[in-house]
Symmetry: C2
Subunit: 309 residues, 2 copies
């Protein structure tokens, strides 16, 4: 089954396109988790175990609510070898709960290097080689090196998905993405490439397995990019913490609520720290995360209804 | 001391700009290394130990010849948590031999995510947080998200280097890098940004700590980019295996032999497999790598002499 079909089947089941981003900032992990771990352990191992407990508890708290999770690799890599072990476990536990796992790795390399990345995270290993320990359903990729940086991640046997950076939600993204070209901007040209790369890779839902990262804070740009990429799944960051509203986040979705997945990371993971769920406090961080997830789902539904009354 | 000064001091000491790339393709690791490891171990751990021995032996064989090494992260990530442990050891052993370590990670993310990547590999950790296990002197980065994806890797205290992808050596790189803009191409615009980002970060050698990846198979493009980036260190891939000649590889270096670092990976690591050093055979892979390194140094010297007679 195509990645796109699996994703939107999950979206239909959970009745929301919300994806919970796992960005476990070390500085924000509740202190009691760290204190509860043997102080004689190697410090990286100690932090990794605290992050592991944190992620597993939050996964338990949100797994029945959302169709997908998106671990941000950087925070696991920060903890070196023990961190990668935790990332592997998080991905495996998410899969065992029928969640779609989107690896936010933003890799971008070519040839045998891209193949190594693909085998590390998505593709089945070549016969005779060891099974990798981290498995995701889709991965975020950087298009700067062209299709050679994308193609190895599209596996014909195990249908995987990719999300190619097109228009990102950060201010300095404009330095390259908004450079004027004969076709519009660099982001427009990348959008056309994404359509081209996805052509022939559409699932029954009509969307292709080659998705695009399109930041939520720029609704006008997002609408323009939707016109260029009518059959592309948008991974929409910047909802919640980065300031995008629910209407903006939902604006590129179709009438069935398909076509995009909306990510929220920090506003859910660290809901215990500030805002309306801070009353839970650090000890009850997982309950705070669940409450924030329910709020985000409601907010996105309201945004969708405002667009499709 | 600036990264640029440390790099060219090492280049002067070894009298070559050659960098050995550590790209340990699993399929190319000598079989006897794998056979010698306990077959009851976890398969990833077994492969990781074979890769560890392979990398350590080659490091021993080339450390006195070259100024720098460039581990390609993908091949270590392919082995998950055990692979990251091997990467950490390779980097540490290289540093202990006074080699400059360039992490070929091609990361590109922003904000706290970029900070997590930076702390994972380059920057000193924030006070109270655990020391990461992988340490490099410089890292390759992708510019698609703008300066926010670069800035966190430039540490004011521990002077680190970055190499920003500008013009890559792969065929499909043109799909984005060669898009025409008002300034020339996207690669030209990125080159101008790299100059801007490096401004004020020059060492005594005149070059800045913000380098650029400029592929060797395109000498005309490289000369044009050198004009745009006169004070930028070029990391030059594509020499050796990817078909670039020594003259092309050296064409952007200045008369002192500064301004660039030329990478060769597979032609050195797997010299035992084919070509004029295949007679060493898989058992003597490290000797083959040393012989291939000496050849590459001579070849680059000849290329340099042809340019500066």
């Amino acid at each position: 089954m195509h990645f796109a079909d699996r994703l939107f089947r999950a979206v239909d089941q959970k009745e929301t396109p919300l994806c919970v981003g796992f960005d476990p900032h070390l500085a924000l992990i509740p202190a009691h988790l760290l204190d509860s771990i043997d102080h004689h352990l190697d410090p990286l191992e100690r932090y990794a175990r605290a992050v592991e407990t944190f992620c597993m508890q939050i996964l338990d708290a949100v797994a029945d609510l959302v169709p997908a999770v998106k671990p941000q690799f950087a925070f696991f890599e920060r903890l070196g070898s023990p961190g990668m072990r935790v990332l592997a476990r998080l991905c495996a536990e998410a899969v065992s709960r029928d969640l779609i796992v989107i690896g936010d790795a933003k890799r971008g390399d070519i040839g045998s290097t891209a193949e190594a990345y693909s085998e590390a995270y998505l593709a089945p290993p070549r016969a005779g080689f060891p099974e990798p320990d981290i498995r995701v359903d889709a991965i975020t990729l950087n298009p700067y090196m062209g299709f050679e940086a994308i193609q190895p991640f599209l596996c014909p046997y195990r249908k995987t998905g990719v999300f190619v950076l097109v228009k990102t939600s950060n201010p300095s993204g404009c330095q390259i993405q908004d450079i004027p070209t004969h076709e519009g901007t660099v982001a427009d040209s990348v959008a056309d490439l994404v359509v081209n790369w996805g052509s022939g890779r559409e699932g029954d839902c009509g969307y292709s397995d080659v998705g695009a990262v399109v930041g939520a804070p720029y609704p006008e740009a997002a609408i323009g990019l939707r016109r260029r990429m009518p059959k592309t799944i948008f991974l929409i960051p910047g909802y919640g913490f980065q300031g995008g509203g629910s209407r903006d986040a939902m604006i590129t979705l179709d009438q069935r609520g398909h076509g995009g997945i909306v990510n929220s990371s920090r506003a859910i993971l660290f809901a215990f720290q500030k805002g309306i769920h801070a009353h839970f406090g650090p000890e009850r961080y997982a309950e705070a995360a669940r409450a924030a997830t329910i709020d985000a789902i409601t907010d996105l539904r309201n945004g969708f209804r405002a667009l499709h009354p």
